[in-house]
């Protein structure tokens, strides 16, 4: 069992992610009511929120340093924040502002942060080979940094998954592959897309360890990731970790989710990993209710400040669109 300090840190991370995502959800609909227009409001375009998947980001990234590389997906905020991305510059990027991580060029699916060696992208499984490359560079440079690749269970049926795991295993690179199985790829359920039940079983196709975390538990994630990260760091090669997690919201905001039953929605809401974890923290005495309240309050303040920074920042000049094609 991790120390109480670690448990509190995990909790804190999860809470600030949740507050960030819920805040963003509200903001996203600004200017999009009564008639929903995806192009309108302060935050246009698709918006994929990760509420429910906090245990994955918090549990894995707790083991990382800023020099470790992380590649994430179209649903990147939880991982970005857990890996230490500046929340203000993240928010500003999502608002399309000059002060954003990419000066408004990237947007929510294309966040690149040299300070935390973080990257993500909107193409399924696109970041998996990138992670292999980071790890190869670290090996060549004699650094004991590692790379972590996050991807959804839907991405595990993309060719890049196969090629990346094989290459990482072949070259014994320090990569941890983290499959966030939230049971859905937009409207397609896992069992209508994947021939077997658990992607962690696919690890054997590459001769690497595969671990299944069946219940979205941050502590279990933390422990499995600890082993995988340590193995990667000491040159022991890659691993695959699969977490059965929950997508509490739609695939993107505005998704009517007609493909999901009410019962399923209720089940996943009921088993909200943060609430369950909080019950455990109180039961074990690691935290009290006032402790928890304080965490939420601090998170709200942090997120409010980030949003305020984003809102009050200027837009980039229109002509700036022509900059940065080439270095």
């Amino acid at each position: 069992m991790p120390s109480n300090e670690t448990l509190r840190a995990l909790h804190h991370q999860m809470v600030r992610i949740r507050v960030f995502e819920e805040t963003l959800q509200k903001i996203y609909f600004e200017g999009k009511t009564p008639a929903f227009d995806i192009a309108a409001g302060p935050v246009p375009g698709e918006m994929h929120l990760a509420a429910g998947q906090e245990p994955v980001a918090a549990g894995v990234c707790a083991h990382l340093r800023p020099t470790d590389a992380v590649t994430a997906t179209h649903r990147p905020h939880h991982v970005a924040l857990a890996h230490g991305m500046d929340m203000q510059r993240l928010a500003a990027e999502i608002f399309g502002k000059e002060t954003g991580l990419g000066h408004g060029k990237g947007g929510h699916m294309h966040l690149f942060d040299p300070a935390t060696n973080f990257g993500c992208s909107g193409i399924i499984a696109e970041g998996m080979p990138t992670a292999v490359g980071h790890a190869l560079a670290f090996k060549k440079l004699g650094r004991d940094d590692i790379a972590v690749s996050f991807f959804g269970e839907g991405a595990a049926n993309q060719g890049a998954f196969h090629e990346s795991l094989n290459l990482a295993a072949l070259w014994k690179l320090g990569v941890v592959f983290v499959c966030e199985d939230n049971a859905w790829a937009i409207s397609v359920p896992k069992d209508k897309a994947t021939a077997i039940a658990n992607n962690s079983d696919r690890a054997s196709a590459y001769g690497m360890p595969g671990v299944l975390i069946p219940d979205n538990d941050p502590v279990a994630v933390y422990e499995a990731a600890g082993e995988a990260v340590a193995r990667a760091r000491r040159g022991g090669g890659p691993s695959l970790i699969e977490i059965k997690t929950d997508r509490l919201l739609g695939h993107f905001e505005g998704d009517p989710q007609l493909y999901r039953t009410k019962a399923e929605m209720e089940t996943v809401t009921q088993r909200d990993a943060i609430r369950r974890f909080e019950r455990q923290l109180i039961e074990s005495g690691a935290m009290t209710q006032p402790d928890l309240d304080q965490v939420w309050e601090a998170a709200r303040a942090e997120v409010a400040e980030a949003v305020e920074f984003a809102r009050s920042s200027p837009y980039p000049a229109p002509e700036a669109a022509l900059l940065h094609v080439f270095a």
Partner: protein
């Protein structure tokens, strides 16, 4: 008392109606793709089809574009007539080999002995903040590669007729629909995305351009959403006494070169509007076509207004800066006419 009955459909409904009618007519037609089932296609192109035809004919797939587009190829060879949806054209890079090296070439490599009758549908276009990997048009890239027909409708009427033609065509047809013309409830409304569509099945020929507005002063050649932007601009220009002809290519392969040349011979001026990247694409091809066929009829060098050669930026002011629009088109046409 005569009652005028006009049957108005959105482009997405026109497309799904076309597919439904062909599926009823021909049991070999079926649909495969991500979220084409319950979801009805992210852009509504397959809405209602699952309820009508069931999961055996409207098949949700894993996120495995190489596999399912390749599956469509094999099924087409063995007697079916698949429609496969690549959700966004931006994703072509994960499966292009199947498309351009296999689907497009088998008929040729077989010396004409094997046909691959399939339709690949895909969504194009930006303007709504979806950034560099979900906003591209890219039809110019596909049109560069031989062996597939390239269809890019602009109106509900054309969308239905071209879809029926595409399904009945014995060749692979790539069918690009622009999100901004689909008439979706969640996109910025475009009044021109709804239009009259006959209920009965009909075809629009692939390879024939269409004069969407006649005019004698300048020819504006374009496709898809930009047809509407050009029509808007033509209205503005008309108030200034400039009559623009708007030529909707409707397909890039085959390219209706005669129509381009004919219009330019009439107006003596050409503006190409293109939401695809400017260089090495459609704009240069159309201008070259005019040069090849109407050089001596030109009163001014043909001009183009295209997406600049930059990835699509996320932030609204930058994205709008890049996109051709009503004002920019009118300005470019005015410049051509007035010098």
């Amino acid at each position: 008392m005569a009652v005028e009955t006009r049957r108005l459909l959105t482009t997405s409904k026109a497309i799904s109606e076309a597919i439904a009618q062909e599926m009823e007519r021909d049991p070999r037609v079926f649909v495969m793709g991500e979220d084409v089932g319950v979801y009805g296609g992210i852009f509504g192109a397959t809405e209602g089809l699952l309820a009508k035809f069931g999961p055996e004919r409207i098949m949700d797939t894993p996120i495995s574009e190489t596999a399912f587009i390749g599956t469509a190829i094999g099924a087409a060879i063995s007697g079916m007539r698949p429609i496969a949806e690549l959700m966004f054209v931006d994703f072509f890079g994960v499966c292009m080999d199947q498309i351009y090296n296999h689907m497009a070439k088998i008929h040729y490599e077989s010396g004409g002995n094997v046909t691959v009758p399939m339709v690949l549908t895909t969504a194009i276009g930006g303007g709504y903040g979806d950034a560099a990997q979900h906003s591209q048009t890219l039809y110019g890239l596909f049109a560069h590669l031989p062996g597939m027909k390239i269809v890019v409708p602009s109106t509900p009427y054309d969308a239905k007729g071209l879809m029926i033609s595409a399904i009945r065509d014995d060749n692979p047809v790539v069918y690009f629909f622009h999100k901004g013309i689909m008439g979706l409830g969640w996109m910025t409304p475009n009044p021109r995305a709804t239009g009259e569509v006959p209920e009965e099945p009909y075809t629009v020929p692939i390879g024939k351009a269409d004069v969407k507005r006649a005019g004698g002063d300048v020819t504006i050649v374009t496709v898809s959403l930009m047809v509407h932007r050009a029509l808007d601009a033509a209205e503005d220009l008309a108030t200034e006494g400039i009559e623009a002809e708007v030529l909707d290519l409707r397909s890039l392969v085959p390219l209706d070169r005669e129509a381009i040349v004919e219009s330019v011979r009439k107006t003596h001026r050409l503006l190409v509007v293109d939401e695809d990247y400017g260089s090495f694409g459609m704009s240069g091809e159309v201008i070259t076509t005019a040069i090849e066929g109407a050089f001596d009829h030109l009163d001014a060098p043909p001009a183009r207004l295209a997406y600049p050669d930059v990835p699509v930026p996320y932030s609204r002011p930058m994205e709008q800066f890049c996109l051709p629009d009503r004002e920019k088109i009118a300005a470019a046409a005015r410049q051509l006419v007035k010098g």
